[in-house]
Symmetry: C2
């Protein structure tokens, strides 16, 4: 099984390769890209401990000169000062413009490595090797890179495309189950916003809450359809001037929930799951979406073991206030992505705070509105 | 007199407008660009003192909401920590993706503002209003943005194009003469590498060493032909993968001289003048360039009041060593841009250290090699 998904952009097109076992032959995938000899591999200690040797060996066998830069694991290290340490490594090892930064890790490592690649010598080659499901289906595709500002997530960043995204599904064996489920939230998202066939395949599964619930074939399908959905959307709107906003389905409320729980109680995928639940309910209230489809979405989220309720202790008014500081606010208006049927959404700034309050109060109580 | 030069790029094309007095009506130039309402004007205290009120008034009259961020003058403030302060201003004033960062100043302000614009919210609108001759003919055109790393100039940066470059030649009245001459070094460069007609016009001038030596018409011509040359080159090679390297004529030795004199004794334009002198001599030694043309270049540099000699105290071996750490080194090889006739250069990695030593020893002594 090998799937190749081309990401077609006005400039800097690239490929996503999905292939079990590809990590041990990664050098073979990089050689045709005509990169310079030097590669700075950026990872965190835990991931590097699992897969570093495999990657380094293959790269070295293919003639690359590999240097290692490790960043401590965790969102709290997604800072500009950690990027400065990557710069220092790049300088120490005398990286040139033809050199490569390779991200081996989850979304944090990918975003940071991409930003360092975008901004060192005004741009080095960049390779994404995502090791979490969330990074495979979302963060590694589409060129969003960046770090957090003390007052907000991902406020500092750049659009910068990788030369290759290499996905080895077998690395998911070492991914904690909670993180697997977080990635599944984005998979469900692609089903709702873009791909009704993917949604239907997920519905047919009895269980979706851990890696071991999936056959290799189903996993390959999930990865392929999710990456294809993202590639389709990004290919039409690289810089998020229009269509790309639909990828933020579930993220409007999701970001607020993450922020208000200090990015610790609820992880990104869990927050997106809650956000999709809320957005779905808003769409139903506005008569945009069939109530039965909203229930189907709810059933998928529940089957995956993801939350659907706003965490206790988070106040509705705090969520309303938090929405107005979101990065994607335009002319002061909060935008919502709302489903119109399975596989289709619309973008709207016309959701009143009163309606948001009403839905948050009833949160997921389908007996009220179906 | 108004000249409009289109800079044609695969994405993000824009215009350079050169017009005396345009600063006082800058709002009229920005309105058609369909920017968001908020503009963060970035400048330094001295420049802002001269022109801030004029710019702010025009922008406000055109309905923009203007915020001010001042950075202390000087290369020593071209740092990532100063960029973080720009980020803080952007956050305080709740800039959105549709908002604009406007650089009012010389090359340092332009490079820094562009980098902040490239990296806040993954890219805001960016407007260049250069106030030095060097920034007008070089730094403001072409999308190179960035800051210095403690161990090297402009190592941190991104390619990011402005939406407009607005040049008001009248602001050069307040430019110190030494800085005017520094800008003229880049003008002479365009004559040598690209535009023999510009070179010929410069030759016809009796004096070129201060703003008052030029008629408004000649200044308009110099600005137009220089910006056109840069736009031509950048339009063919935005990301410096080939042709664009010719803009570094004089910069290979120039960077070494700047670095070895601590970026204080010799300014950028002076270093480039010395570098062009050395590159010209190397080209003559290699029988690539006519000795008489090299002399003509020398005469132009002298007439402008720019230096031609390596500053006393700078050791030849230190220059040789410094060359190998240049940002544009490729596969460890130093590249030189060498003239073949007035208006044409070639790029070569085939200049031996022995030849560099020889030319540096004879530095500008034309009686030896002509």
């Amino acid at each position: 099984m090998e799937t190749i998904i081309p990401v077609k952009l006005p400039e800097n097109s690239y490929k996503i390769v999905i292939k079990p076992g590809s990590l041990s032959v990664i050098g073979d995938y990089l050689t045709p890209l005509k990169l310079g000899q030097k590669i700075l591999l950026v990872s965190n200690p835990e991931i590097f401990n699992f897969y570093g040797e495999t990657v380094v060996n293959s790269l070295t066998q293919n003639g690359f000169e590999v240097f290692i830069h490790l960043i401590p694991a965790g969102e709290q290290f997604k800072t500009l000062s950690q990027i400065e340490k990557v710069y220092d490594s790049a300088l120490t090892h005398r990286l040139e413009r033809s050199s490569t930064l390779l991200a081996l890790g989850g979304g944090v490592i990918g975003d940071m490595t991409g930003f360092a690649a975008a901004t060192w010598l005004r741009g080095l080659n960049f390779i994404q090797v995502p090791t979490s499901l969330l990074a495979m289906v979302d963060a590694s595709v589409g060129g969003k890179t960046g770090v957090n500002h003390p007052l907000g997530k991902n406020l500092i960043g750049a659009f910068y495309q990788p030369k290759l995204v290499l996905i080895d599904p077998e690395v998911l064996t070492t991914l904690p189950e909670r993180e697997f489920r977080a990635g599944m939230a984005e998979v469900i998202k692609y089903g709702v916003i873009w791909d009704d066939n993917l949604f239907a395949q997920l519905e047919q599964c009895d269980r979706l809450s851990s890696f071991s619930d999936l056959t290799p074939e189903l996993l390959q399908t999930i990865l392929t359809r999710s990456c294809q959905a993202k590639a389709d959307v990004v290919g039409q709107d690289e810089k998020e001037s229009g269509l790309r906003a639909i990828l933020n389905y579930g993220h409007t409320i999701g970001h607020a929930v993450e922020s208000l729980t200090g990015y610790s109680l609820v992880n990104h995928g869990e927050a997106v799951a809650i956000g999709m639940e809320v957005a779905g309910a808003i769409a139903v209230k506005l008569n945009l979406w069939n109530c039965m489809d909203a229930k189907k979405q709810n059933q998928l989220i529940v089957k995956t073991g993801l939350p659907t309720q706003i965490p206790t202790g988070v106040k509705i008014e705090d969520i309303i206030n938090s929405l107005s500081s979101d990065k994607k606010v335009k002319a002061g208006k909060v935008r919502f992505i709302l489903p119109t049927k399975i596989g289709e959404v619309l973008i709207t700034s016309e959701v009143s705070n009163d309606l948001i309050r009403e839905v948050l109060t009833e949160n997921s109580n389908y007996s009220i509105f179906c």
